[in-house]
Symmetry: C2
Subunit: 179 residues, 2 copies
Amino acid sequence: MRRKTFARMNCSIARALELVGEWWTMLIMREAFLGTRRFRDFQCNLGIARNILSARLKKLVARGVLTREAAPGGGRRLEYRLTEKGRAFFPVLMALMQWGDQWVAGPDRAPVKVVERASGREIAQVAVRGADGRVLQPAEVAMVAGPGAGPAMRARLASRAARPVAVRSRERDAARAGG
Amino acid sequence: MRRKTFARMNCSIARALELVGEWWTMLIMREAFLGTRRFRDFQCNLGIARNILSARLKKLVARGVLTREAAPGGGRRLEYRLTEKGRAFFPVLMALMQWGDQWVAGPDRAPVKVVERASGREIAQVAVRGADGRVLQPAEVAMVAGPGAGPAMRARLASRAARPVAVRSRERDAARAGG
DNA sequence: AACAATGGTTTCATCATGAAACTAATTTCC
DNA sequence: GGAAATTAGTTTCATGATGAAACCATTGTT
């Protein structure tokens, strides 16, 4: 059967994943943030098949995440560059990288360190913050219906509004389970 | 050919995606943060095929993102719950949701609003911040080799250390391109 | 004109996905 | 105690996505 689309779901995460959630796409975004612009370089740096890279780039351009422009220089050179929409994706990638650093690679084994260009100091952990800037844990927030919520989502959110993601202590050992 | 694995890549984003980057997995995480714990509820809320859900949950448990425990109640009830590692994924999902709200759903069409439980005020934008708490744009940071960088990554980062993600003005129209 | 570099598209074998059918463990109803 | 129901899967099978290699097209160089 055909792979299901997330586009119809009344959920911004699903709709975002429809654009960037396919296999390879987030790594293409990573490359773009690392400064890669040319088809050849994406292909070599990632080791992705060319037909797949072509399809992914095409979709990202069509969705306004990248632009495709002729580049100066010999041959048939093109450049793929991040748009404003693409650059706005930065926090997602940084959050994902930090999670990988801390929970997959292991502490102090990060392959890449992100530093503030001006000062050379490492950036802070990407975190969810309240209006006052305080860092919030999952249990400290609630999901409520937004202006774009359909009837189904509205019903779901109403029925569980009082049920945060509870934190239990007995799982600490299990959280270290194998890789 | 078999789908390539990202696990060997010297990149925390790739390694994170190896765990949560498969089709459906991030939406399963979203459901978990919304409070869903039972197989049946994941299946109904997402509309995912049961064999795929089974495979994804199994992998998330094996990787320490979820726990699987018997739950009180009739039948053969099980509960899947987020571990500390799973809860640490919160900023990634919130960043993704906000990006979807702003750039895919369109402004003021967000299906879900996330508010601080204590005050009821909406949370802030998830952003990359420096050590001093100031919000940083992609062009304001540099990627440098971390303790876990291999020779190849080290060489790449050294050669492009001086090349930030440049911001050009002429793309503003293109960024609005079709959906 | 021939050749090389870049950026693809096409073809084909293999793997992943989705739907439905089937299995298994536990509890409730009669 | 046995039948049915609930939950949580696994198996089977048709179809779609992926990866590798081959092929094509445009532009610039010799």
